[in-house]
């Protein structure tokens, strides 16, 4: 070490370092962080009215290498099956809450769902291209950015319990735009081939592959929903219902993943099928909600640990453009068909804000680990970084957007009544 003239009596190392928990045992580290997260999130909620989910993510962020370095993203790889289950349970519940018939009863709503995703994608793509991003990468980033995080949306809906148009449309749009994003990712190799001029040779293969994913996921979802119905009828025991649901969710997600299908689409269809077949016998929320409470905390801490703000200084104009264009595109898409679809202007604003949380984890449930970016070869590194930073930003702030949209603007959440001791 070069001589710096520092008096030798001063210690050469800091008097305290945070324990390197992940070196000891990743399970121990994450368990400790979970404990802290619950207490800290409650304190933040009490002091600053910060949504608890945002609190969990903040604790995860502080524990990540960006904060105190208690946990490394690689530590989460061992937890992936459990985190996948948490995501899968939320996506299954999302599916069970959707009534596809609504899109037929209200065709303007169906058009609005497509339009908000399309306009958001167009706006983001155009903004990125205008800032010099390669066209194909901009297109892919735009399609991923069009989606709203089903995980953040469902978990926040659990917390806020909205009752109204905005909450219901949020879930419907969230499911549809996530499927769109999933399809875009499945078709990415096709797009990248188009850029290399070898499209004609492999196009048919990739289209067939995309069709296989969509049809296969749909059929598997139908089958899983049917199996749950039959199993529930055979068991005839109300207490076993949550166990059956958890087993089915794990089965559906794993099968879809192993068969190269889309777990997202499979679970959504499974949820819808189970609801259609079982009606009021399917009570997803109270069971998976309570059993999944710990999973939700774990999931949101993990999101915080996985946030990637690397290179934010370099790509901030792209991040700003992406976030701004997305807000504008979604706002325009919602507003254009708000009145014909039966939505008031204030509700349209609320819905636009509630659609802002952006996430990729549910879309990419298929990945074997959390390094999903590596699975998209040929994707421009700068655009990818901008997408990751924007995604992290919009996930971290997601509960705040939803709180603003659903509670403050749309007024769909019942204020907690003070309890008399």
């Amino acid at each position: 070490m070069p001589e710096t003239g520092t008096p030798h009596i001063l210690p050469q190392a800091p008097w305290f370092t945070w324990p390197d928990l992940h070196q000891l045992d990743p399970v121990l580290g994450l368990a400790a962080v979970m404990l802290i997260a619950v207490v800290a999130a409650s304190a933040l909620h009490r002091l600053f009215k910060l949504p608890r989910l945002a609190g969990y993510m903040l604790v995860g962020l502080f524990a990540s290498p960006m904060g105190m370095g208690l946990l490394q993203p690689a530590d989460l790889d061992g937890w992936k099956p459990i985190i996948d289950l948490a995501i899968a349970a939320l996506v299954f519940e999302l599916g069970s809450r959707l009534r596809p018939r609504w899109l037929i009863d209200n065709p303007w709503l169906a058009a609005s769902c497509v339009l908000e995703g399309l306009l958001a994608a167009l706006a983001v793509g155009a903004a990125l291209v205008a800032l010099g991003a390669p066209l194909l990468s901009a297109v892919l980033a735009a399609m991923v950015a069009a989606s709203t995080s089903p995980v953040i949306a469902m978990a926040t809906v659990h917390e806020l319990r909205p009752r109204g148009q905005v909450g219901e449309r949020l879930l419907m749009m969230c499911a549809l735009n996530s499927m769109l994003a999933m399809l875009a990712l499945k078709l990415w190799p096709l797009l990248s081939l188009a850029g290399q001029g070898t499209l004609a040779n492999d196009a048919l293969t990739w289209v067939a592959s995309a069709l296989f994913v969509v049809c296969g996921s749909f059929l598997l979802g139908l089958l899983c929903g049917w199996v749950l119905d039959r199993a529930a009828r055979l068991s005839q025991q109300r207490a076993s219902a949550p166990v059956l649901q958890i087993a089915l969710v794990m089965l559906a997600a794993t099968l879809a993943s192993n068969l190269g299908l889309s777990p997202l689409l499979t679970l959504l269809v499974a949820g819808m099928t189970a609801r259609a077949l079982m009606g009021h016998r399917l009570t997803v929320e109270p069971y998976l909600g309570s059993a999944g409470a710990a999973l939700t905390v774990l999931l949101f801490i993990s999101l915080g640990v996985l946030f990637d703000f690397d290179g934010a200084r370099e790509v901030w104009p792209w991040v700003l453009a992406l976030v701004g264009a997305r807000l504008l595109g979604k706002g325009l898409g919602v507003a254009l068909l708000a009145r014909p679809s039966g939505l008031g202007w204030r509700q349209a604003l609320g819905l636009t804000l509630a659609l802002q949380p952006m996430g990729s984890l549910a879309v990419l449930l298929v990945a074997h680990n959390f390094h999903w970016a590596e699975q998209l070869p040929g994707f421009d590194a700068g655009v990818m970084q901008a997408l990751l930073v924007a995604g992290a930003l919009m996930q971290l702030s997601g509960p705040l957007w939803l709180n603003l949209g659903l509670r403050r603007v749309a007024g769909e959440c019942r204020e907690e009544m003070p309890r008399v001791a």
Binding site: R99, N106, L109, G164, Q165, G279, G344
Partner: protein, 371 residues
């Protein structure tokens, strides 16, 4: 404040108001979407009216002025179709029934109008507990004196309408044992019950003036009587019916009342007396508690008889008038329902068959929306 003059209206014309449940299509609990639905129905082409009610999970619809059964039924069908289409567009369901089977009163939200906020401030939690759903039937009368005579003459038939329309056996998730538990909520209000026994509009005006001078009431709307005069419409308003599970039943009940009013006005089978009210509350209770199997006491003869039997006899007496009013079909439907049972019985049968309460509400809603 003095009572307004009684508007002259064509005798025996009728109008029906129905308070309806707005339901979430996922769990079939009440959902506060009245504003959305009212906006969706803003420019409906029908002659009927739709307006908000005390809490945001309710709406009230009112028909135009009608004279006979077929036209009333057609208008109610049109209204039902348009309302259902609007509701489906917003992913909500609509249902009849006097109470929602499992809603919790504390979760209800007061509809944001000056009057509803006034009621909420005055009555406190009772206002939210008033999330119950009734059918009101207006019958046209030519003047205030006739209105008061008819109002008191009808008092002995009030149990008929309670038992026939009863569709509120469940409250807050529990089977109350009543056929119409809705009226127990109405009874909690200090100005509920029956109108004072006065037979001239001038005397009624004096009573009204005394009441307003005490500051207890401000307008006729503050009286929650079972039957009340409605001077601005030129009608009397029967308010004891639960909202039935179908619009056909609602039309039939209105036409049974119309033919009964014609019978009373034209044949004057008795003169109403203060003593008629000696058994009023008892008979009313019997109808609420036991429905058509209730046992009522005749205020004149003091004889006891089954409510069902009394309705059968009354239907026979008013048959000629029903024929003249072209509402014989309606009265036949009422007769059939005496043997099939009221809506409360239908709901209980579903429950006893193992249906969970949300499934029961869904089934009731499917009937109302004519699915």
């Amino acid at each position: 404040m003095s009572l307004e003059a009684f508007t002259v209206s064509e005798p025996l014309t009728m109008g029906v108001e129905l308070e309806l449940q707005l339901l979430d299509t996922l769990d079939f609990d009440l959902t506060p979407r009245a504003q959305d639905l009212l906006r969706a129905l803003d420019k409906h082409p029908g002659a009927w009216d739709v307006k908000p009610e005390i809490t945001r999970s309710m709406i009230e619809i009112g028909t135009s002025i009608q004279r006979e059964h077929a036209a009333l039924r057609d208008e109610l069908h049109d209204l039902c179709r348009q309302l259902s289409r609007g509701a489906r567009k917003l992913n909500i369901a609509i249902g009849g029934g006097g109470t929602h089977a499992f809603q919790h009163w504390s979760e209800q939200q007061i509809y944001p109008t000056e009057r509803f906020h006034y009621i909420s401030e005055l009555y406190g939690y009772l206002a939210k507990q008033f999330t119950v759903f009734g059918q009101h039937v207006h019958i046209g009368v030519p003047n205030g004196d006739d209105a008061l005579w008819l109002l008191h003459a009808l008092s002995r038939y009030v149990p008929h309408f309670i038992a026939l329309s009863a569709s509120s056996p469940f409250v807050q998730g529990v089977d109350t044992g009543f056929h119409s538990a809705r009226l127990n909520s109405v009874f909690a209000f200090p100005l509920s019950g029956r109108a004072p026994f006065v037979l001239s509009w001038d005397e009624f005006g004096e009573y009204f003036q005394k009441m307003t001078s005490t500051g207890v009431v401000q307008s006729m709307k503050d009286f929650y009587w079972d039957i009340r005069p409605k001077p601005e419409f030129g009608t009397i308003e029967l308010r004891v019916c639960d909202t039935p599970l179908t619009v056909d039943k609602a039309a039939a009940l209105a036409c049974y009342l119309q033919s009964l009013c014609r019978y009373l006005r034209e044949e004057r089978p008795f003169e109403p007396a203060e003593d008629d009210y000696l058994v009023y509350t008892y008979n009313r209770f019997q109808a609420c508690r036991f429905g058509l199997d209730g046992e009522i006491v005749d205020p004149k003869t003091k004889q006891r008889q089954k409510l069902r039997d009394d309705i059968i006899r009354t239907l026979a007496r008013v048959a000629e008038h029903a024929l003249d009013l072209r509402s014989l079909d309606a009265n036949n439907q009422i007769r059939d329902s005496l043997f099939d049972g009221n809506d409360a019985r239908w709901l209980r049968a579903l429950r006893q068959g193992g249906a969970p309460l949300p499934a029961l509400v869904e089934a009731a809603s499917a009937r109302w929306m004519m699915k």
